[in-house]
């Protein structure tokens, strides 16, 4: 657990009332919420679409590393999730 309150066991989920979806017109994942929209860049979209409240940070990281044939993504994932929790795009269910 670091000071953002996010641990490898945290299971981040999209905030209630928000919806993530792929928008062909923008060629991007977008996060929709009342009267607003965030267009996510490629890596943010890949992380966010795995935040289903089921998978842990550790599982999300492993899945991303497998999908993109790379390693060492843990800190990037935690950094993004912490930012998204701070912005209330994601929540960490108790």
């Amino acid at each position: 657990m670091n000071d953002s309150g996010i641990s490898p066991d945290s299971r981040p989920a999209i905030m209630r009332g928000f919806r993530l979806q792929w928008e062909p017109a923008q060629n991007a994942q977008v996060l929709l919420f009342p009267e607003g929209m965030i267009k996510l860049n490629g890596s943010a979209g890949e992380i966010m679409k795995r935040c289903d409240g089921e998978r842990t940070i550790a599982e999300i990281t492993a899945d991303l590393e497998r999908a993109f044939a790379t390693t060492g993504l843990h800190d990037d994932v935690v950094r993004f999730v912490a930012m998204a929790v701070d912005k209330k795009w994601l929540r960490i269910p108790p």
Binding site: R16, R19, E23, A25, Q26, L32, E35, G36, M37
Partner: protein, 391 residues
């Protein structure tokens, strides 16, 4: 519409992007009679409404262009018995749908049907914190009903989003309004200062608060936020008359917003029909793509070719797009002028004079006794525009 849909682009865009945000004003019919309504004061002259099939076609065409945010508004959209059908199609197409409602007509069977149709979000309006003031300001007896609807919205697991339009007659009640929101279990509260179009423009002398009232409300809000233990979020939409720079209205006309009025008229903003000399197309006559990309009504105020000084050479024009065209037209008579809220505008005195006239004690009537508060109603609309060619 306070939160920007996207970050404003830094440069005027020669090729417009898609109409990301679609607002369907399904009807002008409304059980409320709010004196601050932005609907046109002559609405009673155009009571025709599109049929279900037309709305469905608009949804499909707009979605194909990339529209993704959908506002369902009015009037009171629940007066349309086909609302569930429209919501269901919007959901099927992938819109994020937001019902903007007074709550009147939101019975449990309808809410259940809307939920199962895929409605994403509901925004419920209150007019004030007490039954007496709510019912006075809306000229209805709706406070208790709205409170019940608020509970129902929570019961159906929607975020509880309250919108309260602020003005001279209720801005001193910000603390009571916020406490009411807490009691109702609100997740979000939007305190939206009145924007002066339509009925609100007609009633501006009665509705514009004094600067002292605005500052007191901001202090109250600050204190309330500091002591807030619940996760309730509060948005305060600043009243632009008290600012020195205009709002980036609609992110520039024709940039992301597409409004369809009840009769099918396509508008770059819900107030834009007042702008003179522009033909706004109707979705009965043209497809949404043609309307958005090719019509004069949507192209005219894109980019900065239309601007006059001081906007044209202003380094801030890419940030605020010269402000609001409707406000420029209403106050100066020319929609291409700078929004007079800007203190660089030669017409800024029109705003400061209006603010100066509001510097009377909070509850005293306007200086001119012949300025009664005119509530929005079919009868008052017909009185204000006795013949068909009223503006």
């Amino acid at each position: 519409m306070s939160a920007p849909l996207t970050e404003p682009d830094a440069a005027p865009r020669p090729a417009p992007g898609p109409p990301l945000w679609l607002l369907l004003e399904l009807t002008y019919r409304c059980p409320l009679h709010c004196a601050f309504c932005y609907n046109p004061t002559n609405y009673a002259q155009s009571q025709t409404e599109l049929e279900t099939g037309d709305w469905i076609r608009v949804l499909r065409e707009a979605r194909a262009l990339g529209a993704v945010q959908l506002g369902l508004s009015g009037g009171e959209p629940l007066t349309r018995q086909d609302l569930e059908e429209i919501v269901a199609e919007a959901h099927r197409l992938g819109f994020y749908s937001n019902l903007i409602t007074s709550g009147v007509g939101l019975t449990e069977p309808r809410l259940r049907a809307l939920k199962s149709a895929g409605l994403d979000h509901i925004q419920l309006s209150f007019q004030d914190s007490s039954q007496q003031m709510n019912d006075f300001l809306s000229s209805t007896r709706t406070f208790d009903l709205k409170s019940k609807v608020a509970a129902l919205i929570k019961q159906y697991d929607y975020p509880m989003v309250l919108n309260v339009v602020l003005h001279r007659l209720n801005i001193d009640h910000v603390e009571e309004i916020l406490n009411m929101a807490l009691r109702l279990g609100a997740d979000y509260v939007e305190l939206a200062n009145t924007q002066y179009y339509g009925w609100a423009w007609h009633n501006r002398g009665q509705l514009l608060p004094s600067r002292a009232q605005v500052e007191q409300a901001e202090r109250t809000l600050q204190r309330f936020r500091e002591n807030l233990s619940e996760p309730m979020r509060i948005f305060f939409v600043v009243p632009d008359y008290f600012e020195r720079r205009p709002k980036p209205c609609m992110n520039g006309l024709g940039s992301i917003f597409l409004t369809i009025a009840p009769d099918g008229t396509a508008l770059p903003c819900h107030a834009a029909r007042m702008l003179p000399g522009l033909e706004f197309p109707n979705v009965r006559d043209a497809g949404v793509a043609q309307i958005w990309y090719d019509s004069e009504g949507f192209n005219h105020f894109r980019g900065d070719e239309w601007m006059k000084e001081p906007c044209r050479s202003c380094p801030e024009k890419a940030r605020d797009f010269g402000g609001c065209r409707c406000q420029a037209y209403l106050m100066t008579g020319d929609a291409a002028n700078a929004d007079p809220v800007c203190d660089l505008s030669p017409h800024h005195h029109l705003v400061t004079e209006a603010v100066a006239r509001a510097e009377r004690p909070a509850h005293s009537p306007p200086a001119r006794a012949e300025e009664p508060l005119v509530f929005r109603s079919d009868l008052n609309s017909a009185r204000l525009f006795p013949n068909k060619n009223g503006a």
